[in-house]
C-alpha cells in the first residue's frame, strides 16, 4: 500500500512540476535558513566543556571602588578578571583540586623552518591548565607545578604552530626561541578549538586558543605584560608586571576545579572570609559579590550569545512559518484540483482514511525532499556566513576566528523541522481532500 501511495505521489508531482518545484523551493528555503541560524546560535551558546560543568568554576569578586561598577553595561557583575593579590591568595588556598592563574601575552618566535620571525599569542598559565580543561596532547605533555615556580624554560605548542614550525613532526625536546629566550618544547597539542573560548572571554569569545603556553613564573621573570585586557581604576603605577602585581588592576583569569558540593561550599566560605578581612583593611568598598561561576553561568553572564543572533533565530522561524503557510496553500490547491480523481477512488471503495493517508504521504515526500534540499542550502549559507564573518588573523580583528562548523546538531534540526513541516503542511490539506464527497465529482463526469 505504502509503495503504491509513494508511486501515486511521484506521479502527481510529475503532473505539475512547476507547482511542485515552488513548494519544494519554499520548504527548502525555510528549513535552510532555520538550520543556518540555529547552527550559528548553537555554536555560540554551547558549552564546550559540558562534561565538567559541575566541576569548573571561574572566581570573580568585586574589587572596584564604591562609585562605579567595573562594567557599565553589566553593573551586577564583578570585574571579569582578578587582581594579582586576590588571585594569588586563592591560588594558595589548598581547597581546589586543580587551579589555574593565567592571561594572554604575545611573543615573537624564531625557530625551525620559519624563516621570518612569527608573532604569536601565548598563554602564560599554571601547570593545571592542561588536565583541568582536558586539553589533548599529540606529543609529550604539560609541565609540573615546580616548573611554574622555577620557572623552568619549558613551552607547549599548539598543533597549528608545531605544523608551521616543524611540519607536524614530534618536536618534543627541541628548543625554540620565544621573545629572545630559549624554551624547550615539552608538549604539542592535538587540534583543540573550544568554542566559545570560555576560559578567557577578554580577547574575543570566538578567537582561536593561543599558539603556545608558558609556565606562570615567566610572567614575573620576563615582565610579560598582558596583551589582553588590563582593567584599572586607581591612580598608581601599572607599567610593569611588578607594578601590576601590587596594583588594584584586574588582569588575571582564575579558574578552579572543585570536585564536589562540599569543596564548593568551602571555597565560597574562604572567599567570603577573605572579603570580610580585606574590607576591614579598607579594600572592597562595593557590596559583596563573590562569585563561583560554572561554565554555563559564566557564558550566560558575559552574554556570549549576541542579541543579534537571537533576533536572527526568531526571524528565521518567522520566515519558515511563511514558507510553510505558502506550502499549505499550494498543496491545498493542488489536492483540490485533483478532487475529481479522489472522488472516483472513493466511489470505487477507498475509505476516507485511505484518501487521507495517500495525500499525507504525498505531503511527506515533499517535506522530506525539501528538508534534504534545505540541509544542502544551509551548508551553502553557512559557508557564506564563514566568509562574511571571516576575521583577519594578523591584526586579530574582525569577526570570528573560528565558528563551529556544520555539525550533527544541524542535521538533527533539519530532520526535526522536516517532521514539523509534514505535520503542519500535510495534515490540513490531506484532511480536506479526505472529506470530499464522491457524488459531487462523479456527477460532473
Amino acid at each position: 500500500m505504502l509503495r503504491y501511495y509513494l508511486r501515486l505521489a511521484l506521479k502527481s508531482f510529475a503532473r505539475d512540476p512547476g507547482a511542485t518545484a515552488l513548494m519544494l523551493f519554499a520548504i527548502a528555503l525555510g528549513i535552510g535558513v532555520c538550520v543556518m541560524t540555529l547552527t550559528v546560535y548553537h555554536a555560540m551558546s554551547s558549552n564546550p566543556i559540558w562534561w565538567k560543568n559541575d566541576r569548573l568554576y571561574a572566581i570573580t569578586l568585586d574589587s572596584w571602588p564604591a562609585e562605579r561598577p567595573a562594567n557599565i553595561d553589566l553593573p551586577h557583575l564583578p570585574p571579569t578578571q582578578l587582581t594579582y593579590t586576590d588571585a594569588n591568595y586563592f591560588f594558595n588556598s589548598g581547597i581546589p583540586e586543580r587551579k589555574v592563574l593565567m592571561y594572554q601575552a604575545t611573543g615573537v618566535v624564531l625557530s625551525g623552518r620559519a624563516s621570518k620571525p612569527l608573532k604569536i599569542n601565548t598563554r602564560i598559565t599554571t601547570a593545571d591548565f592542561f588536565p583541568m580543561f582536558d586539553v589533548p596532547f599529540q606529543y609529550g605533555n604539560g609541565w609540573s607545578a615546580r616548573a611554574d615556580t622555577g620557572p623552568e624554560a619549558l613551552i607547549v605548542l599548539s598543533h597549528d604552530l608545531n605544523e608551521r614550525l616543524f611540519g607536524g613532526l614530534n618536536s618534543v625536546g627541541r628548543t625554540i626561541r620565544w621573545s629572545n629566550h630559549d624554551f624547550r618544547i615539552v608538549g604539542v597539542l592535538e587540534p583543540w578549538m573550544p568554542q566559545p573560548k570560555f576560559y578567557d572571554l577578554t580577547v574575543g569569545s570566538f578567537n582561536e586558543p593561543e599558539a603556545a603556553y608558558l609556565p606562570w613564573g615567566w610572567s614575573k621573570a620576563l615582565q610579560l605584560l598582558s596583551s589582553g585586557s588590563i582593567h584599572c581604576w586607581k591612580v598608581e603605577p601599572a607599567n610593569t608586571v611588578d607594578e601590576l602585581m601590587s596594583s588594584e588592576c584586574a588582569w588575571i583569569q582564575m579558574w578552579v576545579e572543585l570536585p564536589d558540593a562540599d569543596a564548593r561550599t568551602r571555597m565560597q566560605a574562604l572567599m567570603d572570609t577573605y572579603w570580610n578581612e580585606q574590607r576591614k583593611r579598607g579594600r572592597f568598598q562595593r557590596p559583596r559579590n563573590n562569585r563561583l561561576s560554572n561554565v554555563n553561568e559564566w557564558l550566560e553572564d558575559h552574554q556570549v550569545v549576541q542579541n543579534d543572533n537571537r533576533l536572527l533565530v526568531g526571524l528565521a522561524f518567522a520566515f519558515l512559518s511563511v514558507c510553510l503557510l505558502n506550502t499549505i496553500g499550494l498543496l491545498l490547491a493542488k489536492f483540490l484540483n485533483g478532487a475529481p480523481v479522489a472522488g472516483v477512488r472513493r466511489a470505487l471503495g477507498a475509505s476516507r482514511l485511505h484518501i487521507f493517508l495517500q495525500h499525507l504521504i504525498q505531503a511527506g515526500v515533499l517535506a522530506l525532499a525539501g528538508a534534504l534540499l534545505g540541509l544542502g542550502l544551509s551548508a551553502v549559507f553557512l559557508w557564506g556566513v564563514r566568509i562574511l564573518y571571516g576575521s583577519d588573523p594578523q591584526t586579530g580583528r574582525g569577526g570570528y576566528q573560528a565558528l563551529a562548523h556544520f555539525d550533527s546538531i544541524g542535521i538533527a534540526w533539519a530532520i526535526a523541522l522536516a517532521v514539523v513541516a509534514v505535520i503542519i503542511t500535510g495534515l490540513y490539506p490531506a484532511w480536506r481532500i479526505g472529506r470530499v464527497s464522491p457524488a459531487r465529482h462523479l456527477k460532473s463526469q
Binding site: 533576533l311 526571524l315 496553500g329 580583528r397
Partner: protein, 410 residues
C-alpha cells in the same frame, strides 16, 4: 466603474482557507519587512557615522621588536624620519592605538584632583606633533602639539613624567565644561599620565575613537608623548595624497620589512579595511536582514500567485459564463485584482498590528529604539503593489478564458 466588492467577498467567504493563508503570509511579511528595514537603517547609520578622519587616504603599519637589541625610541624616530620623506605621504605619526579598530586604552578625566567619582571615561591616545595632519582631523579651537612638547615614551619603571598639555575632542569638552569654555582650562586624569593639572590647549572638532561599539566613541584625549612600547610594538598612521594610498602602502611596506632587522612589520593595512572589520557584525546583520526579507517577499509573491492561479483554473467555467453574458476582459482582470487587493488589505491590517507588537517587544527585550510609525506608512503601499503584481499574470490568464468554455462541459 464599479468594483463589485460584495460578490467577491461572498465568494471568498465560501472558500476562506486559501485567502486566510495568503493574508497570514502577507501579515508576517509586513511585520518582518518593517522591523527589518528599521533595524537595517540603524546599522547603516552606525556604519556611516562621520569619523572626522580622512579614512580613505590613511594606512596603518604595526611594527614589533623581535630581539633584545631593539631600541624602541630610536627605531620609532628612524621609521618616522623615513615615512615623512616618502613622496606621496602627507603626514605620518605614531599612535598608541589606531582609531576605528575596536580596541584602545581608556582613562578617566576629572575636573578636580583624585575626584574619581566624577571621572569621565574617555579614549586616551599618545601621539606626536604630526598626529593632527596624519589623521586629517580639524581643530575647532586652540592649537595642536608642538614638536618640542613631545615627551619620550612612558618608562617601564613607573615614574611617569606627566604631560602638561592635552588636546581633546569637542564631545569631551562638552561633557567636561557644558558652558562651552574648555580651552585653556585645567584637567586631571586617573592614571597620572598628565601633570596635575594639565591644560587643554586645543579642541578637535570631531573624531571617532577606537571603540566602535561604545556610545561615547567621540570622547578623546590626546597627550604629546611617543607611544608606550607594549609588546614592544608601535602603530604608525600614514596619510597619503588622495589616490596614492595603495601605491605608497606597497612601497613603504616593502622598505620597512627589511629596514631594521631588530623588528618585524606585523601588518600593514588600510584604515578603511580596519574600519570595515570593526563594523563586520553590523554589516552582516544588515545583509542577513535584507536577504531574509527579500526571500520572504519572494515567497509571499509565490503564495499570492499560486492562490490566484488556483482560483482562475477552478473558476474557468464561471469566468466563461460571465464573458458569455457580456463581461469585458477588463472586468475579469478587475475582479481578480480587487479580490487580491481585499486579501492583501486584510493581511496588511493584521501585519501592522503584528509589526507594532513585535517592534515594541524588540525595544523592550533587545534595547532597540521604538519603531518609527512612518515605516508602517512606507511598508503598506509596498505590499499592496507587490500583491497586485503577483496577481497580475493569473488575472490576465483569466481574462483570456474564452466564453465558449461556458458552453462546454469539463
Amino acid at each position: 466603474m464599479r468594483l463589485h466588492v460584495r460578490p467577491i467577498l461572498s465568494a471568498m467567504l465560501r472558500n476562506w482557507t486559501g485567502p486566510v493563508l495568503v493574508a497570514a503570509q502577507i501579515s508576517i511579511t509586513l511585520a518582518v519587512l518593517i522591523n527589518a528595514v528599521y533595524i537595517v537603517k540603524q546599522r547603516v547609520d552606525r556604519i556611516g557615522r562621520p569619523t572626522g578622519i580622512d579614512v580613505e587616504n590613511i594606512f596603518v603599519i604595526r611594527s614589533v621588536g623581535v630581539n633584545d637589541k631593539y631600541a624602541h625610541e630610536a627605531a620609532m624616530r628612524a621609521d618616522l624620519a623615513y615615512l615623512r620623506g616618502v613622496t606621496g605621504v602627507v603626514a605620518a605619526a605614531p599612535i598608541s592605538s589606531p582609531p576605528l579598530t575596536g580596541r584602545g586604552d581608556r582613562i578617566g578625566v576629572m575636573l578636580k584632583f583624585d575626584d574619581h567619582a566624577h571621572g569621565i571615561v574617555t579614549h586616551y591616545y599618545e601621539v606626536d606633533d604630526q598626529a593632527l595632519a596624519a589623521l586629517g582631523v580639524r581643530l575647532a579651537a586652540g592649537r595642536f602639539f608642538q614638536a618640542n612638547e613631545v615627551l619620550p615614551p612612558r618608562r617601564t619603571s613607573g615614574d611617569v613624567i606627566g604631560a602638561p598639555v592635552a588636546v581633546i575632542t569637542q564631545a569631551l569638552a562638552n561633557d567636561l565644561y557644558p558652558d562651552g569654555h574648555a580651552l585653556g582650562k585645567p584637567i586631571y586624569d586617573s592614571f597620572g599620565f598628565l601633570t596635575a593639572p594639565a591644560t587643554i590647549v586645543g579642541i578637535i572638532e570631531h573624531m571617532h575613537g577606537s571603540r566602535v561599539s561604545w556610545d561615547k566613541f567621540d570622547r578623546i584625549l590626546m597627550a604629546p608623548r611617543l607611544p608606550f612600547p607594549d609588546e614592544p610594538a608601535v602603530n604608525y598612521l600614514v596619510r597619503t595624497r588622495p589616490g596614492q594610498r595603495d601605491v605608497v602602502l606597497r612601497a613603504v611596506d616593502e622598505h620597512m620589512q627589511n629596514s631594521n632587522p631588530d623588528r618585524m612589520i606585523e601588518w600593514t593595512r588600510t584604515l578603511e579595511y580596519l574600519k570595515n572589520l570593526s563594523y563586520v557584525a553590523d554589516r552582516n546583520m544588515a545583509i542577513f536582514l535584507v536577504a531574509i526579507t527579500l526571500m520572504l517577499i519572494a515567497i509571499t509573491c509565490i503564495g499570492i500567485y499560486g492562490l490566484a492561479t488556483f482560483n482562475v483554473s477552478r473558476r474557468a467555467r464561471q469566468i466563461g459564463t460571465r464573458r458569455a453574458l457580456g463581461a469585458q476582459r477588463e472586468d475579469i482582470v478587475r475582479y481578480f485584482l480587487v479580490e487580491n487587493w481585499l486579501i492583501t488589505t486584510v493581511g496588511v491590517i493584521i501585519g501592522c498590528a503584528l509589526a507594532l507588537v513585535s517592534g515594541y517587544w524588540l525595544s523592550t527585550h533587545y534595547g532597540l529604539p521604538r519603531l518609527d510609525l512612518y515605516y508602517l506608512v512606507g511598508g503598506i503601499p509596498m505590499l499592496w503593489i507587490v500583491g497586485q503584481l503577483a496577481a497580475w499574470l493569473p488575472a490576465r490568464r483569466a481574462a483570456a478564458v474564452s466564453p465558449a468554455v461556458a458552453t462546454r462541459s469539463v
